[in-house]
Symmetry: C2
Subunit: 167 residues, 2 copies
């Protein structure tokens, strides 16, 4: 196998799927998602939320972003519904505020994992890896169809109009 996947990397477009069918511009899901995840700093804040950060300074210290930037990202991510404010009181301590992933935010994990997997593969190993907790086996991101097939190549994928009412 050569270094190039060239034309066989393209996905198959059903019929003559055209722009207004929803695969482009404002309607494109990739573009819409990137509008929420806007910046690298947003991704890093999300990453640290997965890694256990809760308080403002934890995010600042661990993302290595400046305070104003972290404040802005936290505000936006809360507004967008990916994080929510929490407040908890440890016994004998004063109340603390914090941030936690919502279900919407937590559901970003496969995307983060996919980016990590790509980076490990093509930019070199980082020294850590994701694993199934308890089982201990290394984790991979896979594309599978509902018929149960594992889909290894983007050339085996098609883009089609979604049936009405499907999720």
């Amino acid at each position: 196998m050569s270094d190039t996947a060239a034309s066989d990397a393209k996905i198959h477009l059903e019929g003559r799927l055209e722009p207004r069918d929803g695969w482009r511009a404002e309607t494109c899901t990739i573009a819409r998602t990137l509008d929420v995840l806007r910046t690298k700093s947003a991704m890093l804040v999300i990453r640290e939320a997965f890694y256990g950060a809760e308080r403002f300074d934890e995010f600042v210290a661990r993302t290595e972003l400046s305070e104003p930037v972290v404040a802005a990202r936290l505000r936006e991510l809360v507004a967008d519904g990916l994080l929510e404010r929490t407040s908890y009181r440890e016994p004998g301590q004063r109340a603390r505020q914090g941030y936690a992933l919502t279900a919407m935010g937590a559901d970003l994990f496969p995307a983060l994992a996919a980016l990590m997997q790509w980076g490990e593969r093509w930019l070199g190993p980082s020294g850590v890896r994701l694993e199934h907790h308890g089982c201990g086996a290394p984790l991979t991101v896979e594309l599978r169809c509902e018929a149960g097939h594992t889909v290894a190549s983007s050339g085996d994928i098609g883009l089609a109009r979604a049936p009405r009412g499907s999720r």
Copy 2:
């Protein structure tokens, strides 16, 4: 199930995994990957490569980015090894230049698919969907461990030091 996944969304850090173990800053794979995929425009160019764009103006028209931006992204993506320049000659036509995904670029598909899946789920449907070509069943991005378990929640995931020499 409430709207919040809160603390159970956090992944488990093995032992006292610390910054210099490679899960942060310059060594963090997420950060390194985002340094390559830097901007939204880069992602859109990649997206169009998957959707079949090859020539300069196809990228310009279909991403709805300006020419200088597309030119810059194409140059960078070629330099980074995600795209490569091609040249082909249709019968009776003069030679044309183009761009195609390399294996490295094509391997980004799971990450794009994960972003699409998240957007469809949380930002609303776009009208199109990915499917297994030929089989026709809808496609999903899944986290699976090498022992074969499907991992549904980020709370079931751990981050551990990678064994020496493992990929």
